[in-house]
Structure formats: C-alpha cells, structure tokens
C-alpha cells in the first residue's frame, strides 16, 4: 500500500511522454484559466463550451487527412469562432439558440468525420482520442509550437488587459471611451478558439470546458481584485493539470497495471477546486469585487 503511494520522481520526470504532457498541459492551463475569467465575466460559458465541442470536427479531420492534430483542432475552432463573431454581432439576444444550432451542426460533422476515420483508416481509436484527449500520446515536436502560441496569447492578454476587462464589464462604456470593441471582441473569440484547441489536445474536445470554467469559477469566488482572479485561476489550473498527470501516472501502480485516464483526474480536480472554493466562501466569505460590482445584466434591469 505504502509502496503504491511513493512516487518515483526520477522516473516520472525522465519519461519523455510525461515531459511533453507537462509542457503542453501547463500551457493549456495558463491559456484556459486566463480566458476563462473573461468568459465567465461575460457569461459566455455556453459559447466557450461550444467552441471546444466544435473543434472536435477538426481533430477528426486531422485523422482523415493525416495532418497534425493541433492544426485540425485550431482550424475548426477558429472557423467556429468567426461564425460566432458574425452571429453575435448581428443578433445577440438569439445567441444561445444560434450557438446551440451551430453546435449541433458542428457535432454532426464530427460524427461523420469520425465515422469516416473509423471505417476508412486504421485509426480505430480516433473517437476516444479526439473526444477524451490523449495527453500522454502527443508528439514532443508539438511542444515548441504550443509554447510559442501560449506566450503570444499571454502577451496579448497582458497588453490588452484593461480594455478587455472593461469590455467584459461594460461594453457600452468601453465603446464610449473609444476602445475598438468589435476588433477586441474578435481577438477575444480567436484566443478562446486557441484555448479550446490546446485544451482539446490536453483533456479532450468535449472535456475542454472543465479547464476553461473550473479554475476561473473558483478564482472568481475567492479573489478580491481582478488581477488576483487571473493569477489564482492560472495557479489553480496549473495545479489541476500537474496533479492530474501525476495521479494518472501513479494510478498505474494502484490499479494493478491499468492506468486511469488523465482527463478524468484533471476534470475531477477542477470540479473539486470549484466546489472547494464554494465551501471556502461559505465559511470565510470571499470575493468582494464580483459581488460588489453588479453584473451587467442587473444593471440592464434597473436602468
């Protein structure tokens, strides 16, 4: 029993699959946590989830065409992001319905592409790989590209931090101040697509939502200032991913030779973080700024 609990650290870090998984997983955690805070502040949880789901069609296409999974996921996520930007700009009140319809069409396409990949190629495990992730099977050559994309995303967020936050809080005010709202909306959606694509490779296309919403939701309950929310969300997301990888790696010894999927552990940890943050605020009080500043919708009701 004790032997199963002892982690063989040198073997853990020497494993090249673990190294790649750690690098890409941490990148996915950083991007998703920071964009998750914006997503929740704007109430875009469904759109964020839909982007991840739809990107699975790209992942399926990459199996069919034999291209790298990253470009498949990313291409489809960006196509969906552009479609949503177009829909969102034209009729915002219908957005939930329109998101649902686009999501249905995207998942239908996934169904077809996965079916074709299953029947025409030898990649019979593509369904599980695309939808539930394959963090330990990613090629190490992907790590530099993902690192570069993450660095770019974080730079954009740091540079555009104030206008992006203002748009999330009150788009009308941002527009009145001369901030190019439409342009930044597009940037935000493209970054959200990137986050969805990278976390689709990490935890799987249909589980990507957990990494986007869980740590950010926990951080928004605890943090007392916006900056702390971002930092706390990033910390919690990295913690969930690293711990998830460790647990999945270690579970090989617990369950006599069958390791549990890494996606399961990461999602479970993000859920626990969210519920734990809820308990924490219930006992010790929490976030002052998200509760003090009324959400935009409440204002719309009063004004």
């Amino acid at each position: 029993m004790l032997q199963a609990l002892a982690v063989d650290w040198s073997a853990f870090f020497a494993d090249s699959a673990v190294q790649t998984a750690l690098v890409i997983g941490v990148c996915a955690a950083l991007i998703n946590a920071s964009l998750g805070v914006f997503t929740l502040l704007r109430g875009h949880a469904f759109a964020g989830h839909a982007l991840g789901d739809i990107s699975s069609a790209g992942g399926a296409a990459s199996f069919l065409l034999g291209i790298s999974a990253l470009w498949g996921f990313l291409g489809m996520a960006w196509a969906a992001a552009l479609a949503m930007a177009w829909l969102g700009l034209r009729e915002a009140r219908e957005r939930d319905l329109a998101t649902g319809i686009v999501l249905g069409a995207g998942l239908g396409l996934t169904a077809l592409l996965l079916y074709l990949a299953m029947t025409t190629t030898s990649a019979s495990g593509s369904t599980v790989t695309v939808l539930f992730g394959s963090l330990f099977a990613l090629p190490p050559s992907l790590a530099p590209v993902v690192l570069l994309l993450t660095f770019g995303t974080l730079c954009v967020i740091v540079l555009g931090y104030r206008p992006l936050l203002l748009i999330a809080a009150d788009a009308d005010l941002a527009r009145a101040q001369g901030i190019p709202v439409a342009l930044l909306e597009l940037v935000y959606l493209l970054l959200l697509g990137l986050a969805a694509a990278i976390s689709a490779m990490t935890v799987g296309a249909i589980l990507a939502t957990a990494l986007l919403l869980g740590p950010a939701g926990a951080a928004l309950q605890l943090a007392t200032r916006p900056v702390w929310a971002f930092l706390l969300a990033a910390l919690l997301a990295v913690l969930a991913v690293v711990l998830g990888i460790l647990l999945s790696w270690q579970s090989y010894y617990w369950f006599s030779g069958t390791s549990w999927p890494v996606s399961f552990f990461i999602v479970l940890l993000t859920l626990l973080e969210y519920l734990g943050a809820g308990l924490w605020t219930a006992f010790w009080g929490g976030s002052t700024w998200t509760t003090a500043a009324p959400p935009p919708s409440a204002c719309a009701e009063d004004c």
């Binding site: 929740l40 109430g43 949880a45 469904f46 989830h49 829909l87 034209r90 009729e91 915002a92 009140r93 219908e94 957005r95 939930d96 319905l97 998101t99 649902g100 249905g104 069409a105 998942l107 239908g108 396409l109 996934t110 169904a111 077809l112 996965l114 299953m118 019979s124 495990g125 369904t127 599980v128 939808l131 539930f132 788009a171 009308d172 799987g204 249909i206 589980l207 939502t209 957990a210 986007l212 919403l213 939701g217 928004l220 309950q221 069958t258 549990w260 999927p261 996606s263 399961f264 999602v267 479970l268 993000t270 859920l271 969210y274 519920l275 809820g278 959400p295 919708s297 719309a300 009701e301």
Partner: protein, 290 residues
C-alpha cells in the same frame, strides 16, 4: 427501408419525436439550450455503466440524467447557472470516459453511445419507449398553461401562485426522461438538436403557443424520419443527419434565422432573460450588446 429489422426504429423514433417536439418547445421558450445539451451528457456515464455492469441501459441513463438534474439545481446556488451546467457536463463526461476505459469497450461501442445508432432500440425496449414518450407528451399537455406561463414570464407566474421551483423540477425532470430515452438512437452529443432545432423553427412560424407547440412536434417527426431515411440510404451515422438537418431546418424556416423577430412571447421574454442573480436560464448574465 421498411424491412422487418427497421420497424422498431421507425416506431420508437416516431414516439420519441412526439416527446422531443413537446419538451423542445418549452426548452426554446425558456432558452434552456445549454441545459438541454448538458443533461444527455450527464446521462452518458449511465450508458457506460450499463456496458460495464450489464444492467439495463435505460435504468443507467435515467438514473444519471436525474442525478444531473439534482446537481444543476443544487450547484446553481453557488454561482451563475451556466458555470454550474458547464462543470456538470464535463465532470459527468469524464466519469463516463473513466468507466469506458475500465471496460475496454470497443471503439464502435463508444461511438454508438456518443453519436447514436439507427438500430439503437431493441425489440424489448419498444414498449417502454412508447409508454415514456406518451407519458411525457401527456404531462406537457396537461400542465401546458402553467408551464408556458412560468417559462415565458416567471415573475408573473409567481404572482399567479405557480410554484417556481416545482415547475423547474417538472421541466428538467421531463427533459431528463426524454433525453435518456432518445439517447440510444440519436446519441449523447446530438439529442439536444432534436429538441432545439424543430422548436426554434416552429416559434418562428407561429407565435400562437398551441399552434407553435404542434408545429414543433410535426417538425421533430419530419427531422427524425428524414434523418433515419438518409442514414439508411447512405450508411452514414444518424447523428450527422440530425445535426446538419436540424441546422438547415432552423436556417431555412427562420428566413436566415438571424433577423430580429417580433413575436409576442419573445418580447415578454426579453425582460426575464436579463437576470443573472435569479438564475433564470443558462444564458443569464449575457448582455444585449455582447
């Protein structure tokens, strides 16, 4: 196409579409699209558990769908409802992924559970499916007026003495039953299209509640029948046709689908859509200009 082995599918799908069109109408009026997408996903581990333990899939699916309803209702106290729904669906899906990895299920089995299977309903499930569908239809018809009022104007319904929480449980419970029953045929990921697309198109065609309700059922039947026929001919997955035909239906019948629509119900809706604290719907917290 109407060979003997296809008959259970045709019969079951026709009954399922009755229930799906009926509950879909309220789903669209309440704008509970995200919930309708999440509940089948929360039922998914039930299907996986059925593969693992060999119990009746229907029991597993229904059990986990109801667990999902309870989870949504309880955890929406913590924060915005869409956040709760998003976390619910990913954690239930992850549980299903774990169960499937434990069974070592074959890829086609996983695929069928996620994207549906034309022959997903065996003979012995036919009677329960028909009974459940008719039951859901009967309950929606019997509670049509209070449910509609609560869905379209929650505050007014509260004043009229309609129990808000009770109606929410009723709606989500019916939604859970329909999704769990339709899941083996249409698949976990695409059940919600069957609910949302016909109802959304129907709302555009008529603002009159009873008429829109009937059109929604008719369109759901049309969608299911044509998807089964196309799937039979092309041998392509049923889910592909349900998803894409649903989108086509929505776009065609709504005249582009994106123009503002001056319907009476929607005008009343605009007020209740804007509440974030009250957790009115999955879209709560979004803003008109977003």
């Amino acid at each position: 196409m109407f060979a003997n082995y296809m008959l259970p599918t045709w019969i079951a799908a026709s009954f399922l579409a009755l229930a799906a069109g009926a509950i879909g109408y309220f789903t669209v009026i309440r704008r509970s699209v995200f919930a309708a997408h999440a509940l089948p996903l929360s039922a998914f581990p039930g299907g996986a558990a059925a593969v693992l333990t060999g119990i009746d899939p229907m029991i597993g699916l229904l059990g986990f769908a109801f667990l999902g309803v309870v989870f949504v209702q309880q955890s929406s106290r913590l924060g915005p409802k869409d956040l709760a729904i998003g976390l619910l669906l990913s954690s239930f899906l992850a549980l299903g992924a774990l169960l499937l990895s434990l069974t070592g299920a074959y890829a086609p089995a996983v695929y069928a559970l996620l994207f549906g299977e034309v022959l997903g309903i065996p003979h012995r499930e036919l009677l329960p499916t028909a009974a459940v569908s008719l039951l859901v239809l009967a309950v929606t018809v019997l509670s049509f007026r209070p449910l509609l009022l609560q869905s379209a104007a929650a505050d007014l319904a509260t004043i009229c003495g309609i129990n808000r929480a009770g109606m929410e449980w009723l709606f989500l419970g019916l939604l859970a039953i329909v999704t769990a029953t339709a899941l083996p045929v249409v698949g976990t990921l695409l059940v919600f299209t069957l609910l949302v697309a016909p109802a959304a198109a129907a709302q555009r065609l008529s603002a009159h509640p009873a008429r829109a309700f009937l059109i929604s059922i008719a369109l759901a039947e049309l969608l299911v029948w044509s998807a089964i026929a196309l799937s039979y001919w092309s041998n392509w997955p049923l889910g592909f046709f349900v998803g894409t035909l649903g989108a086509v239906l929505f776009v065609v019948l709504r005249g582009g689908g994106l123009l503002p629509s001056p319907s009476g119900i929607r005008a009343r809706l605009s007020r209740r859509e804007t509440s974030w604290h009250h957790g009115a719907g999955p879209n709560s917290g979004t803003r008109p200009d977003g």
